[in-house]
Amino acid sequence: MKSGILTIMKKELARFFGDKRTVAGVLLPGVLIYVLYSFMGTAMGSVFGVAEDASIQAVRLPQSIAAAADSAGMALTEGSEADLPAAKALVTEQELDLLVVFPEAFDQAVADYNVASGEPAPLVEVYYNSVSTTSQSAYMTFTGLLDSYESLLANKFDVNAGEGGYDLATAEDSTGAFFAMMMPMLLMIFLYSGCSAVAPESIAGEKERGTIATMLVTPIRRSDIAVGKILALAVITVLSGASSALGTILALPKLMGGAAGEMDAAIYGIREYLLLAAVILSTVLLLVTLVALLSAFARTVKEAQSYAVPLMILVMVLGITGMFGGGASQNLAMYAIPLYNSVQCIVGIFSFSVLGSGVAVTAAVNGAATLLGVFILTRMFNSEKIIFGR
């Protein structure tokens, strides 16, 4: 009776979409991720960006540095030697971000200085306040500026002084490497959190409230209940995973700032997306089945949620293994390990090094594990210990 599966699926989806709170709970993370990552990106940009808003006072500011600072977009005010103690106090009070003191006739002294002479070199002193982030970043920027001016003076050789184009990696490769590092862990976590948000409610919840028994006294097959629930939960999990993944992909360029300027998920072709869909589908089915089994075992929703925690950690650890190990495994045997194989496939797909047979083995292994899980879940629905156990 195929319609039994459909009836259960329809009901599960109706319950999910009928409750605005659960819908929000599952789809909102994607929006949150987007907002959070974008915000983090902006915040990080301000930490490492040019200290344009920083107030910098320079004593005996030489012509050369003034020009360099100007072109770096830093506004400097001139201070006098007499005000030095007062200016330092301002830095301490975080009224002033940076105080730079140059020696007398800096430009001349630098030009006259002979490195071989062994005499002390002209000394520039930069006072800052490590408690203030603006001061700290102004300090980094300004000392960086001084460093590059110094190497410019003693110009014995240049490194990469041209207009760029030294990184010979293609945009495709660098995007690939980046996504291959981030996506396995992120996707695994997104998918897992999606299914652990809905499966305990759907299975342990029905047990806890006694509504499952109402269904069990009707002629519907237990396997139809198991399959219907798992399919519906998989649909919801895919939706929630898609929402989170979309949020991430849209926000990543912002998070990475300029570094990811050329980064673009559009480098992936239809082949990659199809393979990814196959991997994600088999992974979602397996994850949902695992959480469903835990939930069927648990007496209450709370209990089910606590059982889901160790599995969450396992999934995260598996996801993290994808960040290391330099690309996808080329050893087919590795793809026989459920969930680990998903991570390997995702790494491979995003880094263009996917093993086609690996994806096939993954889909087969995860599919078989899901079937086994459905079989066990059916047995559990048939077990009076599970349904009525005290």
Binding site: M1, S3, G4, T7, K11, A14, R15, G18, D19, E206, R209, G210, T211, A213, T214, M215, L216, V217, T218, P219, I220, E384, I387, F388, G389, R390
Partner: protein, 258 residues
């Protein structure tokens, strides 16, 4: 009259979990909840299973409705064995208890359709029955209200209605009036009588003497998992009140302590 339900030596033993032993402060590892139970119910009657807490009423009714399997013995429901033909039994009975709950996020209308689908009731018959049952129980006004916002009485009526979407010949009802106010309880008992008058067979369990006296044709007294007496109500009471008779019987079987 046709013997539509035959209970043949049903026996059920539970293994007590460590948790349950702790909660009930008992050292027993197993408990025989139902012990060689035998009785019959006839077409068109209301049969009452009367017994104190823990007597084994719920366990018995769960075995009859195939939710749990007996260790030994069997029961035939209109010829179908609860052990060997559970699917057939499920489509012939309506089972209801005060513990069987409805999913609160759904409306009576949705639930009626859902259970009709589970029972394979076709659309036309479904709409016809829905109309009829909803009107009779006054559910029609609340058809589109989520169960969560319904009163306890209305919920119980909805439970009753969705458990008989398929118009079963046998209705098994564990503690039908538990937790209901007098008005709602009356609606339920009136409905059970009506069903009987239509020729349905109804098995109810309760520990409430007055319910048995009000609606049952025959009664079985169950104590410690055993049927100690089973007969027509007037023969059981023999002029006394059911309550007095019950305590007499209880003293004879369970010994002292009453």
């Amino acid at each position: 009259m046709k013997e539509i339900l035959q209970v043949q030596g049903l026996t059920k033993t539970f293994r007590l979990s460590a948790r349950q032993q702790r909660l009930e402060r008992t050292g027993e590892k197993v408990r025989r909840a139902v012990d060689g139970l035998r009785f019959s119910a006839y077409e068109g009657e209301i049969f009452g299973l009367l017994g104190p807490n823990g007597a084994g009423k719920t366990t018995t009714l769960r075995m009859l409705s195939t939710l749990i399997r007996p260790d030994s013995g069997d029961a035939l429901i209109d010829g179908a064995s609860v052990v060997r033909q559970p699917e057939q039994v499920r489509s012939r009975i309506g089972f209801l208890t005060s513990e069987l709950k409805l999913e609160e996020c759904f409306t009576p209308d949705y639930l009626f359709d859902f259970f009709s689908d589970l029972h394979g009731v076709d659309r036309q018959r479904r709409e016809q029955r829905k109309e009829e049952l909803f009107t009779r129980f006054g559910i029609d006004r609340y058809a589109q209200v989520k169960a969560a916002s319904l009163s306890t009485g209305m919920k119980q009526k909805v439970s009753l209605v969705v458990s008989i979407v398929h118009d079963p010949d046998i209705i098994i009802f564990d503690e039908p009036t538990n937790g209901l106010d007098v008005l709602t309880a009356k609606v339920v008992t009136d409905f059970l009588r009506q069903l009987r008058d239509q020729g349905k067979t109804i098995v109810v369990s309760t520990h409430i003497f007055s319910l048995i006296e009000k609606i049952c044709d025959r009664v079985g007294v169950i104590i410690n998992g055993r049927m100690v007496l089973c007969d027509a109500l007037d023969r059981v009471t023999a002029g006394e009140s059911l309550e007095d008779r019950f305590f007499e019987i209880y003293r004879e079987t369970a010994g002292d302590g009453v």
